[in-house]
Amino acid sequence: MTIHSTSPAFKRNAHNALADKQLQQALGNVRAGFIDKRTQAAERLPEFEALRDSARDIKNHVLAHLDLYLEHYETKVREAGGHVHFARTTEEACATIVEICKAQGARTVTKGKSMVSEEIGLNAAIEAAGMEAVETDLGEYIIQLRGETPSHIIAPAVHLMKEQVADDFRRIHTHLDADRDLTQPEALLTEARMVLRKRFLEADVGITGANFLVAETGTSIIVTNEGNGDLTQTLPRVHIVIASIEKIVPTLEDAAQILRVLGRSATGQDMSVYTTLSTGPRRPGDVDGPQAYHVVLVDNGRSAMLGTEFEDMLRCIRCGACMNHCPVYHAVGGHAYGWVYPGPMGAVLSPSLLGVDKAGHLPNASTFCGRCESVCPVRIPLPKLMRHWREREYERHLAPATFRYGLGLWAFFARRPALYKFATGLAMPVLGYLGRKAGRFAKLPLASGWTDHRDMPAPQGKTFQAQWRERGGRTR
């Protein structure tokens, strides 16, 4: 079951997001929180840049040998007593997991945070099969109560204010005292801890994602801060890991390299609180842990990205740094992107997984400022990849008519240098004169899409071409 995508409506989504005062307030937390924390963590580690290179090289090595490492990983999981399942599509992945749950006679399934489970629409599939799926990460739990999708890949409820969470808890947790104080995050967390503790203990199956799959040992690794992923995979009879095929790393040493850039890039932590290595089911003599261990490996379009200009995207370790540093994400939030993956990484990945016809215009939501690439821990050239999608969209005549006409109009002038010089030479002084007081325009005819949410700077001085000539720039 694929999650319904509203990516085709990005323009309308973005428009609504800009007008949403509460959302704009919540997005202030992204701008303030993530950026400083990452900067400080990176500055505290002199080897950080060298580790980024190392992480990139490891990922490239894996992608070039992905078939071989997958086979080796599979063998190692089996040797440890686990089961490996391959899924070509979202439907196959959901069916495999539902089948395992059903065979257990499961009623309740707890879930750790997993973006690929969002990608395949796993919760809907579990519910459709008559079982209950319980998200246990605090952010995921909140958005599940609201019937929403994550607006950020590591902070799913970052679009909400605490008052909204309090309202949801009162609406859902009706067995608790109606007059309780829920004004502070501490109180909200304590309540979620208490409610979910019960759900952890009664669950039949626990599903987690994986940050890494280690080929050397057949180990899956999850990285969390709350401990929900660990309770999810330790308490039920069955642990299912769902992961996409590119999560493979060769050795524990390679995982350690990437771990050193993951936490710092994501939340500014040197290490997240819990990094957990799981290999197979519980051993003879163990007194806790799952009795069965399954890994579901999802392709869903990734094998087709290999060998193309979008292969670099498969290095992504889902840290969220690109969206944390993106001015477009800061302005419209994650939901406007209309599908599971928002921000720059979503603008590149979504067209690959959904098709350029459905999500091909997401890469247009970029100022090409390059901050995403400058902070990406595995050095994915995100602006370049977005430009590739723009070209493809244009080639396939999927760009909107106004865009094509506008570009056509510009091209008409650009091909006639004398006319171009004349027109810009006329427009510049006029605009400069009109905007001379404020230095910017709060409103411009035909440009309300720009000026409703930010000012248009007024031209200062002469045109670029005039200045170029004055400074002795070369002309052909």
Partner: protein
Amino acid sequence: MSAREDILSNIRRSLGVTGREEPRLSAMQERLKSAPRGVVPMRGQVSGEARVALLRAEAERVAASVAEVAQPQDIVLEVARYLREHNLPASLRMGADARLNGLDWSATAIEVSHGPSAGDDLNGLSHAFGAVAETGTLAMVSGADNPTTLNFLPDNHIVVLREADLLSDAESLWDRLRATYGKALAPRTVNLITGPSRSGDIEQQIVLGAHGPRRLHIVILRD
């Protein structure tokens, strides 16, 4: 074709390979065998007193607390002191680890129970397999000695660490795991724990004690 065959052959088609090329196979086998370390930060490359100090500083940075004791029986006194200091009930849940069970708990008023946690224990005691000074991280291995549930369900988690098991970096920890269990990594679970549980999911404000312990106390047994 099965999903497995289909995915593998798609990957091979995209990469333009058959899967039988000798250079690729040996590149993989060589990497798995040699397990190159890559870039290991200088920060952790200290020993002796400096390494203990680094673990302490890094653990305290992430809101764990640290105490040092000189001999095994002092662990009992430190645990009792810690529970008193935080006004906690004098009860303790622990696994079958002989290094903890061999201590004389009757010297205190602490009521000790054994086995995995069922979710209603306030205080848990575990013995670490090792620790990483670079990041203030504890390494716990699953098994009857130190059940995994004790790492997550109790509100207060106290962990004993022998100084001899305090390592510089994660890479040294992997070596220690391989030396102890063989390359197959025998424990079902290895938990690397860096501070008490926390969440920043509500308005980016960090709150301790999300689903795991609200407090983490490390007791280092100096050799």
